[in-house]
């Protein structure tokens, strides 16, 4: 190469630095994008490889249905190629924070699968633990707080039930990221809601039952040196895996034997103990029975004695009563006699009374006579007193007096005799009466005496009888006591018998159990069964796919740009080329100037592009994926292969285009070359032949249309450039739209409930019903639906995906709460009794459609076959909908609700929070999760997507700018005479600008429209490629995104036009119109 030519090339670059820069920028973008995107996937694999090497992640893991032992470890260690074998303990536990139950995976910090420490320190003591950062942010706990983990008891090697942990209470001492859980999915559990919420790591010292391992992890020799998921790695692992599988049978058998031995020994012990206990119990019963027999005899004796005493007493009573009776008889005899005497006496008294009455009437007569006599005497005495009494009369009177006196005296005498007689009679009566009275009194006394004796007798009798009675009572009480004792004994006997029977049954059961001890099953798995790892590796493939499409746009545009630019450059230098040719330079020498120019631009641009692309693009893509994976920082590599391929491609495109342009010119003779190239001739365009339209166009429009068709290459270029730009921007927005639609689509469209309530285990049906009623009564709640949810693994053709099974309490109750909509027909689906509905992404991953059968496997490994009735719409996670009827027949289990889905009354955030708090007060509720807060958390994560949009917009903008700027430069340079002319004609700057840019604007608009269409498809492709297993992206682009993409493209166009405006203003009319010499 001639020195002069080299100098010329360098000078050329200086003079046309804008053109050089634009080609350089194209190379930069092309190589940067290509190399960057292509390198991302290897970088991601390298990142995970380094991460796994650093954390010493297992190559193979062994699990067994019945645990693993030290012997197993020893046996595996002996296998060729096995580097390290570690047995460890992993289990699920529950913990309760603020009444919310969380399920945690509890793992030990080991030398293998080392957790990556993020904050604090690793657990060093048995009462320390570390958690994942999410745990702290979600539960509000902090490092230094204590948590209590409940883990079901386990069996030690002797078959005894023991506590799993030494300390349930542990202090959080740090946060870690587990290499075993790359994604946010923590797997399923048989506990609680069936989903593991977090993992925690504890110190191995906290494990109580150390002799049974739950897992064995194996490191394979030389595996760390190989790149994970590379073919060589897979080969090495699978050969080692099959060697482990060779001892599988033997170890399974060994474990079975061991278990049987332990159980048998235990059974024998139990049998002995049972026998002893039985004997003891029987003895005790015999003793008790003897005692009762004694008691019975005593009671009998007592009864006999009482009977004897009673007899004796009765005899005594009879004697006493006889005596009393005879005494009574005598008294009554005496009384009779007395009564006879009295009667007699009374008769006498009557006689005497009659005598007395006679006497008394005599007396009365005497007394009357005496009275008359006394009167007569008193009359005589009166008459005597009369002084006038004649003697004769006196005498007579005297005489009469004397006679009267005599009569009175005689009467008195009779009277006295009578009185004496009466008194005699009276005395006689009185004495008789007296006598009778005395007799009566005697009898009375005797009676009294008798009564006294009788009453004393009665007293004696009563007391004797009472004594006998109390003796009897006592005896009765003893008897009763004895009876109840006997009853008790019988009861106890029955009870003991029952117990013994039970124990015996247990022994029989235990014997059966031993007979039933199955051979355990070993599962030998490698990293391919770790869901986070697998989906990460799948994602690296998606990135690779994207890398195959995106850069094509840039390569095409770069080629076109260099073609136009270099063609123009060659055209501008026709004269010089002609001169050189005339001077005798050969084609190669002449072309080399342009080739050097183009090569420098492409190589410098390419190397710059690589340097930026290898860093920036993997970082941005990583940023997107770091939402899903917890791995740490990406390891960036300068990937020579892709760098050189990218550079090579862009070199071929740009230099190829240059050579094409130069060679085309060089074919002509120097003479022709030295004359200016004839300007492109004007031609009528097709549109002119349609006068209907053509006539309606204004003059300037006509000019524009003509120009567009005049420069077809530029026309194409502009459109392709703008199309690419718009398409990229639209894809950026579309990506954001699709991803940000996921949550609303899932939680407003498919899941229409607001709150998910998990119920505590073991509630009765009526408790749930009552709770449901209670909740439905609340003003804030509009609807409550009972469901059963559990997580299982769906399997088809070796593909496994975790799915959540939802069984509504009533087929129709989900209506409006969860919309089960067929993917194809868009119609609501009603669950039937023998088929399931499977969500769309799971169906796609498993490769099944309606009518196909899949296998559902629970965490214990039980498998069920089910047929799919419908593939249904869904966006987040995978679900299987199953009717209660199918569930019950499939699992042979009684249906039991464990989750309530609640729709609320359009509550605000605070109202919902307070409702949730209120709900947590119910004893039946174990956890309450608000859908709205889940959406909020996800939305925050999705913010980082905006970076992707920004990167796409910036690169698209650069693309648009380079294309438009370049084209505009070429356009101006090619038409400089024309433009100078119209300036001379007196076009204002603005008019000149319009004259040129009207075309650009029209082409831009066409480009935008095509770009929107292309963007739609590009977006469709990109989303299809980079979709994550757990999610279904809705391939929709919001109308606003079309608007934004259009506006942004227009904005870029305007920037270029602005630059053009000044370029046009600067056109020197005189210089441009100078005659060509």
């Amino acid at each position: 190469m001639k020195k002069a030519l080299m100098k010329d090339s360098v000078k050329e670059i200086k003079n046309t630095y804008k053109r050089f820069l634009s080609i350089l920028l194209m190379a930069f973008l092309g190589v940067g994008f290509f190399a960057g995107i292509r390198a991302t996937s290897p970088d991601m694999v390298d990142t995970i490889d380094k991460y796994y090497d650093n954390q010493n992640v297992y190559d193979i893991q062994v699990m067994s249905t019945l645990g693993l032992t030290e012997d197993d470890i020893n046996e595996i260690s002996k296998i060729e190629n096995v580097d390290k074998v570690i047995g460890t303990y992993e289990t699920d536990g529950k913990l309760e924070i603020d009444k919310v139950e969380e399920i945690v995976k509890v793992m030990c910090v080991e030398d293998i699968n080392k957790p990556r420490l993020l904050e604090g320190k690793l657990p060093e003591a048995s009462n320390e633990c570390v958690v994942e950062p999410n745990f702290l942010s979600q539960t509000g706990k902090n490092i230094g707080d204590t948590i209590e983990v409940q883990i079901e008891n386990t069996e030690n090697n002797n078959g005894e039930e023991v506590e799993y942990l030494v300390n349930k209470q542990m202090k959080i001492v740090g946060t870690v990221a587990s290499p075993l859980y790359l994604s946010r999915d923590r797997g399923s559990s048989t506990l609680g809601s069936g989903k593991i919420d977090y993992y925690i790591y504890i110190n191995k010292d906290n494990i109580n039952a150390k002799d049974i391992y739950t897992k064995i992890y194996v490191k394979v020799k030389g595996a760390n040196e190989l790149e994970t998921s590379s073919d060589k790695y897979k080969e090495l692992i699978s050969s080692t895996k099959s060697k482990i599988e060779e001892i599988k049978d033997e170890r399974e058998q060994a474990r079975q034997n061991e278990l049987i031995d332990t159980a048998t020994e235990k059974l024998n012990e139990a049998q002995t103990e049972f026998d002893n206990k039985k004997k003891q119990a029987e003895e005790e019963i015999t003793n008790a029975e003897a005692k009762i027999e004694d008691g019975k005899k005593q009671i009998e004796d007592g009864e006999k004695e009482i009977a004897k005493n009673e007899q004796k007493a009765n005899k005594e009573f009879a004697d006493a009563e006889a005596k009393i009776e005879s005494a009574k008889k005598e008294i009554s005899k005496n009384e009779e006699t007395l009564n006879q005497e009295e009667t007699n006496a009374n008769a006498q008294f009557e006689t005497l009374g009659q005598q007395k009455a006679g006497l008394e009437s005599n007396l009365a007569t005497v007394n009357t006579a005496l009275g008359t006599a006394n009167e007569t005497y008193a009359g005589i005495l009166e008459a005597l007193k009369n002084p006038n009494i004649d003697s004769g009369s006196l005498e007579s009177l005297q005489g009469q007096k004397l006679a009267c006196e005599a009569q009175i005296s005689k009467l008195n005498e009779t009277k006295n005799t009578l009185i004496a007689g009466i008194s005699e009679i009276e005395n006689g009566i009185n004495s008789g009466k007296q006598k009778i009275e005395d007799g009566k009194a005697q009898i009375e006394a005797a009676k009294k005496e008798l009564e006294k004796q009788e009453s004393s007798y009665q007293n004696t009798k009563t007391s004797t009888l009472a004594q006998i009675q109390s003796a009897k009572d006592k005896l009765e009480a003893s008897r009763k006591e004895l009876e109840s004792g006997e009853q008790e004994l019988n009861d106890q006997k029955a009870e003991v018998e029952q117990q013994l029977n039970d124990a015996e049954e247990e022994l029989i059961d235990a014997r059966d159990e031993i007979a039933k001890i199955e051979k355990p099953t070993w599962y030998v798995l490698d990293r391919e069964q770790n869901s986070g790892y697998v989906s990460f590796i799948q994602d690296t493939d998606s990135v690779e796919n994207i890398g195959q499409v995106f850069p094509i746009v840039f390569f095409i545009v770069a080629t076109l740009i260099s073609l136009t630019s270099m063609t123009r450059m060659v055209e501008e230098q026709r004269t010089q080329i002609g001169t050189l040719k005339a001077l005798g330079y050969n084609k190669f020498q002449i072309a080399s100037k342009y080739v050097i120019y183009a090569s420098l631009a492409s190589v410098i641009g390419g190397i710059l592009g690589m340097s930026v692309g290898f860093v920036l693009i993997p970082k941005v893509i990583w940023m997107m994926y770091s939402m899903m994976y917890q791995i740490g920082d990406i390891s960036l590599n300068f990937n020579w292969t892709f760098g050189i391929i990218g550079l090579g491609l862009i070199f071929i495109c740009i230099v190829g285009a240059t050579i094409y342009a130069v060679v085309r010119e060089l074919r002509q003779t120097p003479a022709i070359l030295m004359r200016p190239k004839a300007p492109k001739i004007g031609k009528r365009v097709l549109l002119e032949r349609i006068p209907f339209i053509w006539k309606r166009l204004s003059f300037s429009r006509k000019v524009t249309v003509r120009n567009i068709f005049r420069y077809k290459k530029r026309f194409l270029m502009t459109i392709i450039g703008i199309m690419g730009c718009t398409a990229l921007i639209l894809t950026g927005f579309g990506l954001r739209d699709s991803i940000s639609r996921i949550m609303p689509d899932q939680y407003e469209h498919v899941f229409n409930y607001d709150i998910q309530i998990s119920l505590k285990d073991g509630l009765e049906e009526n408790q749930i019903g009552e709770l449901k009623n209670n909740l439905e009564q609340k003003d804030k709640i509009t609807n409550v639906v009972e469901t059963y949810m559990t997580t299982e693994t769906a399997i088809n053709n070796g593909v496994e995906e975790d799915v959540q099974i939802i069984v509504p309490e009533d087929k129709n109750s989900l209506d409006g709460t969860i919309n089960i909509v067929d993917l194809d027909t868009k119609e609501k689906v009603t669950l039937n009794d023998n088929e399931i509905c499977l969500t769309d992404k799971a169906a796609e991953l498993l490769g099944v459609k309606e009518g196909d059968t899949i296998t559902l496997q629970d965490s214990d490994g039980n498998q069920k076959q089910v047929t799919i009735s419908n593939v249904v719409e869904n966006y987040v996670y995978h679900y299987v909908y199953m009717s209660k009827e199918l569930y019950e027949s499939l699992y042979n289990k009684q249906y039991e609700s464990n989750v309530l889905l609640v729709q609320d009354n359009d509550l605000t955030e605070e109202q919902e929070d307070s409702l949730a708090e209120e709900l947590m007060n119910y004893n039946e509720i174990s956890s309450v999760s608000l859908i709205s807060s889940a959406i909020r958390t996800m939305d925050e994560t999705m913010q980082s997507l905006n970076y992707v949009v920004v990167v796409l917009i910036v690169s698209a903008g650069l693309l648009a700018f380079v294309v438009l700027y370049n084209l505009s430069n070429v356009n101006i340079s090619e038409r400089i005479r024309e433009l100078a002319t119209i300036k001379v004609l007196g076009f204002y700057d603005r008019e000149v600008y319009d004259y040129v840019t009207r075309e650009t604007i029209l082409l831009t608009l066409i480009g935008i429209v095509l770009g929107l269409v292309a963007g739609y498809f590009l977006n469709y492709f990109i989303i299809g490629t980079c979709e994550i297993n757990m999610l279904r992206f809705n391939k929709t682009i919001e109308p606003l995104s079309y608007v934004y993409s259009t506006l942004i493209t227009i904005a870029f166009t305007l920037i270029v036009n602005f630059v053009t405006y000044f370029a046009l203003k600067k056109i020197d009319m005189i210089e441009s119109l100078k005659s060509v010499e």
């Binding site: 001739i681 004007g682 003059f699 000019v703 007196g986 204002y988 005189i1070 119109l1073 005659s1075």
Partner: protein, 233 residues
């Protein structure tokens, strides 16, 4: 007061450290309706003077007055307006827009100025009635220059400035073009300036300005200008 006046006009180009005096204290005057021929050797400053007069370039110092308007004082935008309405340019290489038909090339000029003439009539006047819808590439050199002249006069300018209008044409065609220009000046009473290095054309003008070393060395006035047909060279 003359229609056009060049007063002590200087134009200095600075190219790095070298200064080139393109116009050196140039003075001349032109009356309205005059046909002026500017002659002189290459590099004498003819084109520079024409460019300044046409508002395509600016003077370093001095004054240029056209119809009472001081062109040297105009700002860029006013200068464009001046070109737009007052000036018609005809170039050696026609400078037609290739993508436009003859008529459209004329329309390109007329659509922007105030008192434009009807393009079709102007084209008829220059004898291109039948070639109106042809593209420049379909026209001969003379025809193309006619289109260029039509484009210039259709604006109905105060001044028609022609820089070597026949330079790229054969003798016969050149003559026809000069005739057209002369006729235009006479019939339309338009002020026409023609630059030529061909001194033989001088007799056709009302006034001949001789340029030499950047200045109007000599100004002749032809009392009886000859019709072009009579001039031979």
């Amino acid at each position: 007061m003359p229609y056009i006046e060049f007063k002590n006009v200087n134009k200095i180009y600075e190219m790095g450290e070298i200064k080139i005096n393109a116009l050196n204290d140039t003075n001349f005057q032109i009356e309205k309706g005059e046909l002026v021929v500017i002659v002189g050797p290459s590099g004498a400053g003819k084109t520079t003077a024409l460019n300044i007069l046409g508002g395509m370039d600016t003077a370093t110092s001095g004054r240029v007055i056209v119809d009472g308007k001081e062109v040297t004082r105009l700002k860029n935008k006013e200068l464009i307006g001046y070109r737009r309405n007052d000036i018609g340019f005809v170039f050696q290489f026609y400078n037609l827009v290739q993508n436009l038909t003859a008529r459209e090339n004329v329309e390109l000029a007329t659509q922007i100025c105030k008192n434009s003439l009807d393009p079709e009539q102007v084209l008829e006047k220059v004898g291109l009635k039948d070639r109106m819808n042809n593209f420049p590439s379909q026209l001969s050199g003379g025809e193309q220059q006619r289109v260029a002249i039509a484009r210039a006069i259709a604006k109905n300018p105060k001044l028609l400035l022609c820089d070597e209008p026949t330079g790229a044409l054969d003798y016969k065609t050149g003559k026809q073009i000069l005739k057209l220009l002369q006729d235009t000046a006479r019939k339309e009473n338009m002020t026409v300036l023609i630059i030529t290095h061909n001194g033989a054309l001088a007799p056709m003008a009302d006034k001949v300005i001789h340029f030499k070393n950047g200045t109007a060395e000599k100004i002749e006035i032809n009392d009886n200008p000859k019709p072009v047909e009579e001039i031979e060279w």
